[in-house]
């Protein structure tokens, strides 16, 4: 399976019915493709939409209805519009059940760095700091390494997005859960061995002798 699709499918399993969910750009956006539309999940966009749906059919897009990237979207039945203060009120106030974001780095403490690389051009944190700080649950969805470098580290070297511990990390190699005692490897991807994961990860991992395999049902 395509690594990105694998990650998105696994993250989709974490989504509870009747919840409010915010998906970041990149892999997180793919998650909605693997959800049952009858689950009653509402997708939030920071720019002020609750109940965002798919890209509208050709000729039916409207310049007043876009996602946080400025792309045309549609509304699902029961959607609503909110202003930016209300939108971040939902995020920071703990009303957002889940946010799924990408990462530059995560570490054993569950800290996430995803907004700036010192010395390089920084586009800005946008809503990331509020999302990571405020959402009830934060899942990092990312490819396990970037340009041959480990992204799951003992300690982030890049500036943090929040001091809040993320709840789950899903990569194409496995699923990781930061706890008080450290970072737990709780699942490995199909056809991936424990040894491969340990070799590709800088962080120290706590794991059972026999790590169960991810089920993504396909």
């Amino acid at each position: 399976m395509d690594p990105k699709a694998l990650i998105a499918r696994r993250v989709a399993q974490e989504i509870e019915p009747n919840t409010l969910v915010n998906l970041g750009i990149g892999i997180p956006t793919l998650v909605s493709d693997y959800l049952d539309e009858d689950m009653g999940v509402f997708f939030q966009a920071e720019n002020g939409a609750v109940g965002m749906g798919h890209r509208p059919p050709e000729g039916m897009s409207d310049r007043h209805l876009t996602d946080a990237g400025g792309r045309f979207v549609s509304f699902v039945p029961g959607a609503s519009t909110i202003d930016s203060a209300f939108s971040f009120g939902l995020i920071r106030g703990g009303h957002l059940d889940l946010t799924v974001l990408g990462a530059l780095q995560v570490d054993e403490a569950g800290h996430l760095a995803n907004w700036t690389i010192p010395g390089q051009y920084t586009p800005g944190m946008g809503g990331a700091m509020d999302l990571v700080t405020g959402a009830k649950k934060v899942i990092v969805a990312m490819q396990h390494r970037a340009k041959g470098e480990a992204k799951i580290l003992r300690e982030c070297t890049l500036p943090l997005t929040s001091q809040r511990r993320v709840d789950l990390i899903v990569t194409e190699l496995g699923v990781f859960k930061p706890e008080d005692d450290g970072l737990h490897l709780i699942e490995r991807a199909p056809n991936v061995t424990l040894e491969m994961i340990l070799a590709m990860t800088e962080a120290r991992l706590i794991h059972a002798a026999d790590v169960p395999e991810m089920h993504v049902g396909c």
């Binding site: 002020g48 876009t66 400025g70 519009t81 202003d83 700036t116 586009p123 800005g124 509020d130 405020g134």
Partner: protein, 217 residues
């Protein structure tokens, strides 16, 4: 009664060096007419407060292309290559603010609060130089109000007393900035007779709006 003014007169109101809030999100819900007119008028040394810088030719883009902006306060400037170049060259000073903090600082100015305590940014670079206040054992950053000489906003409909309604995600920062500009100038898609916007559909009461731009078409 809020007299509708021309785009030309609106531009004349805004001097070089002014601080200007510009609403919109990735080019949606932006008063595009006045943005282009300010760029064409060659305004200088503006401080621009805007969520993002959209793209080179959308949203606030034209203001950067025309070198109108000295300082930018925003949450994201990632997709505008002119902004990137001006920032890299040192022409443009940039203050990055987390989006939820940005809108809440603007609201604080608009509703007369001296500041707000937010958990966002604690333990990050954003906390540098800011007062940390502990409440119930949890740390918060004290973030201060953010106002501006002008708020330039876009609306779906406006009536002749200045009541505004917005449409879908073109709402975004508009109703918040309408509270926080010392002078509020609105560029609506349409101006309608008083009474056409029902009281419960008004999202910005006309008492907040100083000038409404008459369509030039």
């Amino acid at each position: 009664m809020h007299l509708a003014i021309s785009l030309h007169d609106a531009v004349d109101l805004i001097p070089d060096g002014a601080s200007v809030m510009l609403s919109g999100f990735m080019g949606v819900g932006v008063p595009d007419g006045i943005v282009h007119a300010l760029a064409e008028a060659g305004k200088k040394d503006l401080t621009l407060i805007s969520n993002d810088t959209a793209r080179d030719t959308s949203g606030p883009g034209p203001l950067f292309a025309a070198h109108c902006v000295k300082k930018l306060i925003c949450s994201h400037m990632g997709l505008n290559t002119i902004v990137q170049a001006q920032y890299a060259s040192g022409e443009l000073e940039v203050e990055l603010v987390p989006q939820g903090t940005l809108v809440e600082r603007i609201r604080a100015a608009g509703v007369g609060l001296g500041g707000i305590l937010t958990p966002t940014g604690v333990g990050t670079l954003v906390a540098e130089g800011k007062q940390i206040i502990e409440v119930d054992g949890k740390e918060y950053l004290l973030e201060l109000p953010l106002s501006a000489d002008f708020a330039l906003i876009a609306a779906r409909s406006c009536d002749y007393v200045g009541n505004l309604s917005y449409m879908l995600t073109a709402t975004n920062f508009n109703p918040i900035m309408a509270l926080a500009g010392r002078t509020v100038i609105c560029e609506p898609e349409e101006i309608v007779p008083v009474g056409v916007i029902p009281p419960d559909a008004v999202k910005t009461p006309g008492v907040l709006v100083d000038h409404v731009i008459r369509s030039t078409t």
